[in-house]
């Protein structure tokens, strides 16, 4: 299965939690940090992202960027 990483634009996040509910691997959660608007931004708190983009598709504030990770070795093989 593909490996991925989620990038969070913390100042844009409004802490609605839709991405947390949408993530099939449950790697997202609302963090303890507070941004300038007073919301607690979402964070990826563990490995296991499969780069499915469900979080980014459901995010109303386009907070999330999704990266697919590829092993250099796997690319050569």
């Amino acid at each position: 299965m593909a490996k991925g990483r989620v990038g969070v634009n913390e100042e844009r996040c409004k802490s609605c939690g839709l991405c947390v509910a949408a993530c099939p691997m449950k790697v997202l959660r609302i963090s303890d940090k507070i941004n300038k608007k007073g919301y607690r931004p979402v964070e990826q708190f563990k490995e296991g992202c499969i780069a499915c983009r469900m979080c980014a598709i459901t995010c109303p504030d386009v907070v999330l960027e999704v990266f697919r990770l590829e092993d250099d070795k796997a690319c050569n093989a």
Partner: protein, 247 residues
């Protein structure tokens, strides 16, 4: 480890924080429109017509030429724009208070004339900006500030189904109802928007996309609960589907 970015903000979306409440799916609809504009490479010739309602600031978020129409009159403004600039791609983006209430005449006649415009209709079954009053699309029994005991059909009638109504007309080319409540619906919504814009670009006629949307603030729910409520209560009343498709 090599990283490839597979999802980012569409280029025709302006990089600002929206004024929408947390969990409001207007943001998703905006992003889908921007993605479609990017993919069809029509940013330079697209004209947006913003409504009155929560999405009144559409022009601050999508980087295309824009009008702000009087309440409900967006289809009339869009018709004029399209007739004067036939090469442009014109869309109006309207809520249910705007389109199904005060703007009922404009939408019906624009559809009936078969204007070559695209209308994006956000249906969240309530008036958002003014503070949660009953809308023409409010469900029977649904509570709002002007029907605190729930909508009573004897007093206020039944929710209006815009897609079904417009589909009885001969002129419209493409009429569909989609949702952005969950990713599986959002993916289909984008396909529908793409088809709607293509219908206009190919000159086939009037296209109408109704998007079932949530309003967590005025429904008095957490955003995730609102998406579930939409699935359970709104979808049976407003079934998703294609009501008219270009030949």
């Amino acid at each position: 480890m090599k990283e490839t970015k597979i999802f980012e903000k569409p280029k025709s979306m302006i990089d600002v924080t929206t004024h929408y409440c947390p969990g409001c799916t207007h943001g998703v609809a905006h992003r889908l429109v921007a993605e479609v504009i990017d993919e069809l490479q029509i940013q330079e010739r697209t004209v947006a017509v913003a409504p009155v309602g929560c999405s009144v600031f559409l022009y601050n978020y999508i980087n295309v030429d824009s009008y702000e129409a009087a309440h409900g009159r967006a289809p009339a403004v869009a018709s004029a724009c399209k007739r004067l600039l036939p090469d442009s791609v014109v869309f109006s983006y309207q809520g249910d208070g705007d389109l199904a209430s005060i703007g009922m005449a404009e939408i019906v006649h624009a559809a009936n004339r078969g204007e070559k415009i695209t209308v994006i209709f956000i249906n969240n079954a309530i008036y958002g900006m003014t503070g949660g009053q009953m809308a023409p699309t409010t469900l029977v029994g649904q509570k709002a500030t002007t029907c605190p005991l729930g909508r009573d059909p004897k007093l206020a009638g039944y929710p209006i189904r815009m897609c079904e109504m417009l589909a009885t007309l001969q002129a419209p080319a493409y009429i569909t109802r989609v949702s952005v409540a969950k990713p599986k619906y959002t993916i289909k919504a984008k396909e529908a928007l793409t088809k709607a814009f293509q219908t206009q670009i190919e000159g086939k006629g009037f296209s109408f996309v109704e998007i079932l949307s949530t309003c967590p603030t005025n429904w008095g729910m957490r955003p995730v609960d609102a998406t579930n409520w939409l699935e359970e209560h709104m979808m049976p009343e407003f079934p998703l589907g294609v009501f008219k498709t270009p030949e």
